[in-house]
């Protein structure tokens, strides 16, 4: 079995993963794919930052990291008349279980991220930038440095980019095994050389970010999408998807499918079609459950997903969130108690420990799910889980606490009978398959 990850040719109208072979990641290859055309045109036309932001706003591009915040709006929050440095940060700390798209972008199309960042720096008035890369993907970190060196050599980075009066320096930096650093303010703390403890918001990074300076942070895929938007226009991007859900999105499909991998499709594509691209269910088994947006998002029953389209609004209407686009597929042989046990262990393991409700609550949730899974649960444990989850949600500095609690609530809501069966019969409703 070899990595086919994004070379399967089963994308629909791809933008970011279009034409990639694994070997064509260098600068010359990127330029053959119209790379850096958008940057050249923007500088040659002397477009104003407001014009660039307006185009991105028109595209309805929403942040691809998980929160789905409108990108153009975020860029417009940067103070204009601020003296001294302003920063631009790329969040490539991809560690949301089920999500593995940014790794493919970084290793197979790194210049799309660099070009997107230079354009964003111009629009937001940033003077320097950092790409913070997940510590677990070291070859990608090293490759991104090679791509940066190429971009500097060609005049796309550094002083007076392409002969203009615009200057921007970009560096690469890395984490070393802390999920929480994917939270944007924890990431800033990490770049500052500290533990990754999320900050209170407000102030938001646009006012007080890296080293206390105005800072814009976007996800890798978000930046990689920007050059296409400037080349083809915001309207063309919206037209690819749906109103308020512009463009294509890369979905990382994992779990019980025939061909796990990354699939770039227009927002609004039916889930059933995405599942078909991934080769359908492994072994022809029946679909039971799907987490549509990375492990922090609520799980949905398979039949609900089969009637849902893959865009922000449709998935929200179905009761979950599009999140990072990490689609975890579970078949009929999977025990929902066991699946939740593993996820709850993850949040227990990764809580930064700063806020008491999350630090204590995540461990509490894990221990209770663990005892239900191991035949030691009591019927009032279900109420206890709900109560602990409810006492975490909204009571922590960052969204991690909600992320630990929401899967518990959703598994209980969607598959309560399975938990009751475990408690009542001290064993699993489905045969142990793994």
């Amino acid at each position: 079995m070899t990595a086919q990850t994004c070379f399967h040719g089963r994308h629909i109208k791809p933008i970011v993963l279009d034409g990639l072979t694994g070997d064509n990641w260098r600068l010359a290859d990127y330029e053959k794919r119209d790379g850096y055309v958008a940057l050249r045109k923007m500088l040659a036309d002397k477009a104003t930052p407001d014009q660039v932001i307006a185009e991105v706003k028109k595209s309805a591009l929403r942040g691809r990291g998980g929160a789905g915040f409108p990108t153009g709006l975020k860029w417009s929050f940067m103070p204009r008349q601020h003296p001294g440095p302003k920063y631009l940060v790329c969040n490539s700390d991809e560690g949301e279980p089920g999500t593995f798209k940014d790794r493919d972008i970084l290793r197979y199309n790194p210049h799309s991220v660099i070009e997107g960042m230079v354009i964003a720096a111009y629009a937001s008035g940033s003077t320097a930038g950092y790409n913070y890369i997940h510590g677990e993907i070291w070859p990608e970190y090293e490759r991104f440095q090679v791509a940066l060196d190429e971009a500097y050599g060609a005049g796309y980075l550094g002083r007076n980019i392409l002969g203009s009066d615009f200057s921007f320096d970009l560096y690469t930096t890395h984490g070393f095994g802390a999920y929480i650093c994917g939270e944007e303010t924890a990431l800033l703390e990490s770049i500052e050389g500290k533990k990754g403890l999320p900050r209170f918001k407000p102030p938001f990074p646009a006012g007080y970010g890296l080293y206390g300076k105005p800072t814009t942070i976007n996800n890798t895929e978000t930046f990689a999408t920007v050059p296409w938007i400037l080349r083809h226009g915001g309207d063309a991007f919206v037209a690819l998807g749906r109103p308020n859900n512009g463009g294509t999105k890369i979905f990382s499909v994992s779990g019980d499918v025939t061909s796990p991998g990354n699939y770039e499709i227009p927002l609004g594509t039916p889930f059933a079609q995405l599942l078909g691209l991934a080769g359908g269910m492994r072994g022809g088994r029946r679909l039971k459950a799907v987490i549509p947006g990375g492990s922090s998002m609520p799980v949905l029953p398979g039949e609900t997903m089969m009637a849902t389209d893959m865009d922000y609004d449709s998935i929200a209407k179905a009761g979950s969130m599009l999140g990072s686009g990490g689609v975890i597929v579970m078949d009929e042989t999977r025990c929902m108690v066991r699946c939740l046990e593993r996820l709850s262990y993850f949040y227990f393991e990764e809580s930064c420990g700063q806020c008491t409700p999350c630090r204590e609550g995540a461990g509490w949730l894990y221990r209770v799910v663990h005892r239900i899974e191991h035949g030691q649960g009591r019927m009032d444990d279900l109420g206890l889980l709900d109560s602990v989850a409810g006492n975490i949600i909204g009571r922590t500095i960052c969204a991690f606490g909600d992320a630990a609690a929401l899967p518990v609530r959703s598994f209980l809501k969607q598959f309560r009978g399975e938990f009751e069966h475990h408690i009542e019969h001290k064993r699993c409703l489905v045969p142990d398959y793994v």
Partner: protein, 169 residues
């Protein structure tokens, strides 16, 4: 290279050069931004992070030793005690578990005669349970000494990997 701990131990000149390259990425007054990278460089050289290495790096970056200890203990890829020649970190998170990581974990434990967080009796392998590497499509995945990712690990491929590492170790 300002700090030589009492033991006289320090990193190699090459390691300090690498650390200098990291420091150069940040504003002059923000040298401590390089601490994660500098500790990773130190760990690559020493094999783990003894206190002299943490303190030497802290001193070099002009930060209190306790601030460097905080970082070393916060990020899970740092080894705070000596590990085996090869640290094998297997992701067992849900997407990987759905694609064979549970089987791979059982196979590794049986072959090495250790549980997670243990080192084999010949000091060759330390087995660790990892959290998401962001490579779920390639499951099961494991990292060898943090930096080399091995993918699609059937039992057969795991055996090949262990043989290869034993020969090279």
């Amino acid at each position: 290279m300002s700090a030589l701990p009492e033991s006289g131990e320090t990193l190699s000149a090459e390691a300090w050069r690498q650390i200098d390259r990291e420091v150069a990425k940040y504003p002059p007054q923000q040298k401590r931004s390089a601490i994660v990278a500098a500790l990773a460089i130190a760990q690559d050289e020493v094999g783990w992070l003894p206190s002299w290495a943490i303190e030497a790096v802290a001193s070099y970056l002009g930060m209190p030793p306790i601030a460097a200890y905080e970082v070393a203990t916060f990020y899970s890829m740092f080894n705070l005690e000596p590990a085996g020649r090869f640290k094998l970190t297997l992701c067992t998170n849900l997407p990987c578990a759905l694609s064979g990581a549970t089987r791979a974990a059982a196979h590794l434990k049986a072959r090495l005669g250790v549980d997670f967080e243990q080192t084999s009796s010949d000091r060759m392998f330390t087995l660790q349970e990892g959290e998401c590497f962001g490579a779920c499509g390639d499951a099961p995945v494991l990292l060898v000494n943090n930096k080399r990712m091995c993918s699609f690990l059937s039992d057969e491929r795991l055996d090949q990997l262990l043989d290869e590492l034993r020969r090279s170790g």
